[in-house]
Amino acid sequence: MTGLLPGPHNVFDGSAIADDLHLAADVAVVGSGAGGAMAAEVLARAGLEVVLVEEGGYNQAADFTLKEADAYQELYQESAGRKTADKAISLLQGRTVGGSTTVNWTTSFRTPAQTLAHWAEVWNVVGLGPGDLAPWFAALEQRLGIEPWDYEPNPNNAALARGARRLGWRHGVISRNVRGCQDLGYCGLGCPVDAKQSMLLTAVPGVLAAGATLLTRVRAERVLQRRGRVRGLECRALERRGIRPNGHRAMITARHVVAAGGAIGSPGLLLRSGLPDPHHRLGKRTFLHLVNVSTALMPEPVRAFEGAPQSIYSDHFLWPGGGKLGYKLEVPPVHPLLGATVFRLHGRLHAEMMARFADTQAMIALMRDGFNTHEPGGTVRLRDDGSPELDYRLNGRLEDGLKRAYLSMAELQFAAGAESVLPQHTEAQPYRSWPEAREGISQLAMAAHHAGLFSAHVMGGCAMGQNTKQAVVDSRGRHHQVEGLSVLDGSLFPTSLGVNPQLTIFALASKLATELARELGGS
């Protein structure tokens, strides 16, 4: 290795290198998030030589200022302003060591049995039923401190519980991956007290302890292959801010590559690599748990910036039957920078809403997209500069789901005692009662750029399954056409999940990487 400035252990910051790097390993893993860190740890502990490549920096508790203006630039893809190609949907994805697990809200659910059954039935996924995954979930829950939140929910979550209870809607307590949580409410800006059991605190240290190498601020450019066999990985080192390449390359010779750069990054890497894709499946069927938002003014302070961000959920509308799109109800934390951009107003009206920032309760609905043939999902493609972007369009089914979700959220917020409710939509106004809201929301057009839309759960694009006409990789995550290439992250999912995805990704990556390690001759 030449030109390296070693950090602690075996961590190398690409922005500080002065020359090209040439490394050799058994496995190069792209991405240090829920999938990549888990997989790299399993492989390294099995005695294989592993290089883990991360596009973001190695930010740790002492680096987290808890200021949004710092955190979004440093810890998120595209300063937390990544968007779909038509700019209608904002995408929140981590870009730092630990990936999205470093900045997520700690919500942990096992994969619903309905989802796994659908994958087996429609997408020819084998060996990943509830019984196959149960021991992995149990072990991970133990390791990561995943337990139902045992303390009082903050007022933002309490409103969800109160409204659901009064309406007789099913709801429950969320399990969180924390130990010694101080209930600060800043999970989205990086846990400053090392309570969140993210990859940053668990699998990444495991990777380093097993002697693997971590490259930070290094972007994987393409998978190198010859005659259908992987030879390695070509990467570019980035300057400090992670925007421009700094002119140096990292060339990693490896007999296996694991793509785990998230459901925009992984399809993007494979597209740039020009790999065979005879049935045009790569980058297709990308799902979002598309989110819309409703805010309410409460008579008492809510202070939704404090306390565990998510502790209550409602699945009352998640599996509605009758062929309708289902959605999950949760609440988001509300901090001023992101909160102010969510209000689709300006001037005096905006200032009036912000003047009651501390009284604002916020709800989100997550569409369970991808389970119906009329929910095709989006497509990841490459821009002229080789960077990936997601094209995801609304259609009638999604619009119907969004409208029903606006109605559910408003009904719940009034049941919880709201003075007024404002669906985050350009044509909406603050409604004073549930009948007024019901009438107003029924008039809203759901066209793009009117509804404020978000996603923090980008999934799919390298779907798994045994049928090569349907899937990019098989049920073990191995590429159908190229030897020595695996995908082990959320881009494996043939549909969305219906639950927040981190625990599903942890379990799939651990299980599939364990099988991979055995095959590669690890112990």
């Binding site: 630039q73 300063s79 800006l189 001037g347 005096r348 200032a351 501390a358």
Partner: protein, 168 residues
């Protein structure tokens, strides 16, 4: 989304591209340049008091607050991917050059000369426009300005946000 906003769909980018052919060659030639230029600062200096009406201080500290918003926008833009910066540059240039500004907003005068009422009218038109292109452009400006102000600790006392906890 500290700064954000990439902008246009492909079809709309084509339309914008046609508009961009009206730009003087100097403006078009710098389309891949730095973060904000002089006319961009004038644009945000004019938009901030209108978008943030009722939120900015009204006393002696007002000019400094507006300058802080413009500086925050500049920092945010510099942190965005190059492809997004290029899209924003195109929007800023179209708004900075009087003939294209007139086509897009109905405003001929330079930004500092436009009354708050006329700025408010053009922003409200864009927000509700039938053209997705203009709605997208509105939210790009919206996101940059609101992120710059509410990411700044001086905006927090008015909204009852105590700031992040002090850790011992």
């Amino acid at each position: 989304m500290s700064g954000t906003a990439a902008l246009f769909s492909r079809r709309e980018a084509l339309r914008l591209g046609l508009l961009a052919t009206l730009l003087p060659s100097t403006a078009a030639a710098t389309a891949s340049g730095g973060s904000l230029k002089g006319p961009d600062r004038a644009l945000f200096g004019a938009l901030a008091p209108v978008l943030l009406a009722g939120a900015l201080p009204t006393g002696d500290d007002r000019p400094a607050a507006i300058a802080a918003v413009v500086a925050g926008v500049e920092r945010a833009v510099a942190g965005l991917p190059l492809s997004t910066q290029a899209e924003l540059r195109q929007l800023f240039d179209l708004l900075g050059f009087a003939p294209t500004r007139l086509l897009l907003t109905g405003l001929w005068d330079d930004w500092p000369e436009v009354s708050p009422e006329r700025l408010e009218a053009f922003l409200s038109d864009w927000r509700q426009s039938r053209l997705g292109l203009l709605r997208v452009a509105y939210f790009a400006l919206h996101e940059l300005v609101f992120a710059a102000w509410y990411g700044d600790p001086q905006s927090w006392p008015r909204i009852g946000y105590p700031g992040p906890p002090e850790l011992t």
